[in-house]
């Protein structure tokens, strides 16, 4: 093939000397690059090993079979004073994940609203959105987290939580239960507790789901055969709820509300979902910060949809809502997904800043372990592997979602 390209040029020009031959140069260039990269990696790795050996510190992954010998803030295994390392990693990963999930929920909801708000024709809404984006996007996230930790909690309006100073309690009307317990150290909110045959309940729910699918298909076929309105959603929901309620009752109400209450010692929250100031500061600050980036992505993606699309839908007399719902947003979504998932990835990694508000996420725990005399190199290697795992998760999600939304080929 290449020979065919070469021949039309002057016949006197034979094969060029190797140092001027593009094909040779390309290969040499790649070999040099590979050697340089691997050489650099080898040099760095060798440095590490040499220095560690000089200091008599073997690299030893045996640390993961040892007890950690320290306890973790608000760890449910509160009484287990010496958890083994896998437990520590598990608590750390769980805390990182919880912060990530809630942070993403905040970022996605708020970011979408603000992003659309920026394009609003209402002057106030669009300027407020602009203020939000420019304000939060330009503050380092570490500062934001520290600010939340100090302004909202440490120096905030909530009282300390100890026997002499009970937390603010917001009561549930017509009962003795608390809807919320608020202090500058921890908050308690209601949660759902289990007791009883949850397994059986979910087996029944599986059956309910199958029944729902059957009803859905049935209504669809009725619609196709007779032309009568299908009302699939109504029928399906009815089936699901009906069977669900019956299953819930016959399995002996396996789920119930759990309300937060101050413990006997006056220092803990019994029942409900108890969370600490660190978690709230970290999650809300990350959520708000990432929302400003998501808002810009949403705005950019909407504006990237060709103007003709909007004009065409106007010409078809679609309403403003219909224009967005059926024409603009589906196209904007496709553009917005990759950069948004990148933001999720950033948010995941930013949770490592939780140490400034004393939130025990994985980085903080690993650092505590290192500070308590555990070997740094194996622990940092595992820490990196964990974040790599989170990143892989997001890139897999990105690929799945992208495949789902990508344009079907011609």
């Amino acid at each position: 093939m290449t020979a065919a390209k070469v021949t039309p040029s002057s016949p006197s020009q034979q094969t060029p000397p190797p140092w001027r031959d593009v094909r040779v140069l390309r290969i040499v260039g790649q070999v040099v690059a590979v050697v340089a990269v691997f050489g650099a990696l080898y040099w760095l790795f060798n440095n590490l090993i040499t220095n560690l050996n000089d200091s008599g510190i073997p690299i030893d992954f045996g640390v993961f079979n040892q007890p950690t010998n320290f306890s973790i803030r608000d760890d449910p295994g509160f009484d287990d004073r010496s958890p083994l390392f896998p437990n520590l990693l598990w608590v750390g990963i769980k805390n990182t994940a919880i912060s990530t999930i809630f942070g993403i929920l905040i970022a996605l909801t708020l970011g979408t609203l603000v992003g659309i708000g920026r394009l609003s024709s209402n002057w106030l809404v669009s300027k407020l959105s602009l203020l939000y984006v420019e304000g939060l996007r330009n503050i380092p996230v570490l500062v934001l987290i520290t600010f939340f930790g100090f302004a909202v909690f440490t120096f905030g309006p909530f009282p300390p939580f100890n026997p002499s100073s009970p937390p603010i309690s917001i009561g549930l009307p017509f009962s003795d239960s608390n809807l919320a317990l608020l202090s500058n150290d921890r908050w308690g909110v209601p949660s759902i507790a289990t007791d009883g045959a949850t397994g059986l309940f979910w087996i029944l729910m599986l059956a309910a789901l199958a029944a729902t699918v059957a009803v859905w298909r049935w209504r669809t076929s009725v619609n196709i055969k007779t032309g009568a309105p299908h009302r699939r959603v109504l029928f399906a929901l009815g089936t699901l709820l009906g069977i669900g309620i019956i299953a819930f009752l016959i399995t002996g109400t396996p789920y119930r509300m759990s309300w937060p209450a101050v413990s006997e010692s006056g220092r803990r929250i019994d029942g409900g979902f108890s969370t600490n100031a660190g978690w709230i500061s970290l999650t809300v600050a990350l959520g708000l910060y990432t929302a400003s980036h998501v808002a810009e992505i949403v705005r950019g993606s909407i504006q990237a949809v060709a103007k003709g699309q909007s004009e065409a839908s106007n010409a078809l007399a679609l309403s403003g809502f219909q224009r967005y719902r059926f024409v603009v947003l589906p196209q904007a979504l496709r553009i917005a997904i990759p950069p948004t998932i990148n933001q999720f990835l950033n948010l995941t990694k930013n949770t490592s800043l939780g140490v400034v508000v004393a939130y025990p996420e994985i980085t903080s725990l690993i650092r505590t372990a290192i500070g308590n005399g555990k070997p740094a190199v194996p622990l940092l290697a595992v820490l990196m592997a964990i974040y790599l795992g989170f990143s892989f998760f997001w890139s897999i999600m990105l690929n799945i979602v992208n495949r789902r939304f990508q344009l079907v080929g011609r």
């Binding site: 990696l41 080898y42 760095l44 790795f45 440095n47 590490l48 040499t50 220095n51 560690l52 050996n53 000089d54 200091s55 008599g56 510190i57 073997p58 690299i59 030893d60 045996g62 010998n69 320290f70 306890s71 803030r73 608000d74 509160f78 004073r81 010496s82 520290t146 930790g149 909690f153 440490t154 120096f155 009282p159 300390p160 939580f161 100890n162 500058n184 150290d185 413990s263 010692s265 220092r267 803990r268 660190g278 140490v355 400034v356 508000v357 004393a358 025990p360 903080s364 650092r367 505590t368 290192i370 500070g371 308590n372 005399g373 070997p375 740094a376 940092l380 290697a381 990196m384 592997a385």
Partner: protein, 381 residues
């Protein structure tokens, strides 16, 4: 300089992860490779070092750096000392941006002993959990940062702990208004603790031994921990008693609530300078510079009197080097004079830094052995 080192370490660890992932089952294989290199270098590490004492399993302790650090520091002309910059009394940056404190003064002691100039020090402020990494990577020559001597740190962190300059113990501080006096009063309480310190371990072992539940709130530095404590996010603050005393006087001095330090001391915390394992000559040089302050105190020599000593006590003449005595530890003959005249003896250093934060010397473990304390140095002869 500092940045490139860090980049190197991080990149190296990354490379390491790749390799570790590639041969995850090769724990013993890796050791074989390591011991090969020990054999090769075994002959070169011959300067009479008892390397076999701490490597019974034939583990990899290479002594290629033996003797390197002392010469390197003297050639460089400055000592790089890892210290604290947020702890009143021990290591803190004052309004003018200068480091001061007990530990900082011992950095200056080492510089005076090794280089003859107490001001030839470059201070590197380190967080508690970054200090051993900095030491291991060779970023700092010596670590003097209220660091407790423990077996794990001696072993797994590759640290070499030298003369204990301060005998401390972990205590708990609570606001005086609470009326708490013993650990049992703190059942279920949130307790503020600094990350990367042995305090977490001590706290855990003492509370679990007595079956008291507690909730540790781990902060990264004292600047974040202190407001959290003062505003009641945690009910107690645990740390070395000396640090608590420093913060007690600081909080009360700034108009905060009155504080109470519980009488119970829950751990032994011997604090002292640390160098990296594998360089005996450097360790000796640092150690004897530091011990000279205590020896001078024992001899009754202080910064004013040592250089003008005119007596004829042969031990003192040995010590100040006027009779040309050289024990062969690699330090100049007059190092003790430089140390004491430029920085002071132990008592002077203590009085300048520790007395102001409210800890007495007389009657404490840090008093001279002749007064019933623990400050006892080997004879200089």
């Amino acid at each position: 300089m500092k940045n490139t080192k860090w980049l190197r370490i991080i990149a190296a660890i990354f490379a390491f992860t790749l390799v570790a992932a590639a041969c995850s089952s090769g724990g013993s294989d890796g050791e074989t490779g390591g011991s090969d290199s020990t054999n090769e270098d075994g002959d070169s590490g011959d300067s009479g070092d008892s390397g076999d004492g701490d490597s019974g399993d034939g583990d990899t302790v290479e002594l290629t750096q033996d003797g390197g650090r002392l010469a390197a520091v003297q050639e460089r002309g400055t000592l790089i000392c890892g210290g604290n910059d947020t702890l009143p009394g021990f290591g803190i940056v004052d309004d003018a941006g200068d480091f001061s404190g007990f530990d900082i003064d011992f950095c200056r002691v080492v510089a005076a002993g090794v280089l003859g100039d107490a001001n030839a020090v470059e201070f590197v402020p380190l967080t508690a959990d970054a200090r051993f990494t900095a030491l291991q990577s060779g970023e700092i020559d010596v670590l003097i940062r209220n660091t407790t001597w423990t077996a794990t740190r001696d072993g797994q962190e590759g640290a070499n702990f030298l003369f204990t300059t301060f005998f401390d113990g972990q205590g708990l501080m609570v606001p005086a208004s609470t009326g708490f006096t013993e650990l049992e009063d703190l059942a279920d309480a949130s307790i503020c603790v600094l990350s990367g310190t042995t305090t977490e371990l001590n706290l855990n072992s003492v509370f679990s031994a007595r079956g008291i539940a507690f909730n540790p709130v781990v902060f990264e530095d004292n600047n974040a921990l202190r407001p959290a404590y003062e505003e009641g996010q945690c009910e107690a603050w645990t740390s070395d008693a000396s640090q608590l005393a420093a913060f007690k006087s600081s909080i009360e001095g700034e108009g905060g609530d009155e504080q109470f330090i519980m009488a119970e001391i829950i751990s032994k915390e011997p604090l002292g300078p640390v160098v990296v394992d594998g360089d005996t000559e450097w360790a000796q040089a640092v150690n004897w510079s530091v011990m000279a302050t205590v020896q001078a105190w024992e001899f009754g020599l202080d910064s004013g009197s040592i250089s003008g000593y005119s007596g004829d006590d042969p031990n003192i003449l040995n010590f100040i080097g006027t009779d040309g005595f050289d024990p062969g530890i690699g330090l100049p003959a007059d190092f003790a004079v430089q140390v004491v005249s430029q920085v002071g003896n132990y008592e002077e250093i203590y009085n300048a830094n520790i007395i102001p934060i409210g800890l007495q010397l007389t009657g404490s473990p840090n008093d001279l052995w002749t007064n019933g304390g623990l400050m006892y140095v080997p004879p200089y002869r």
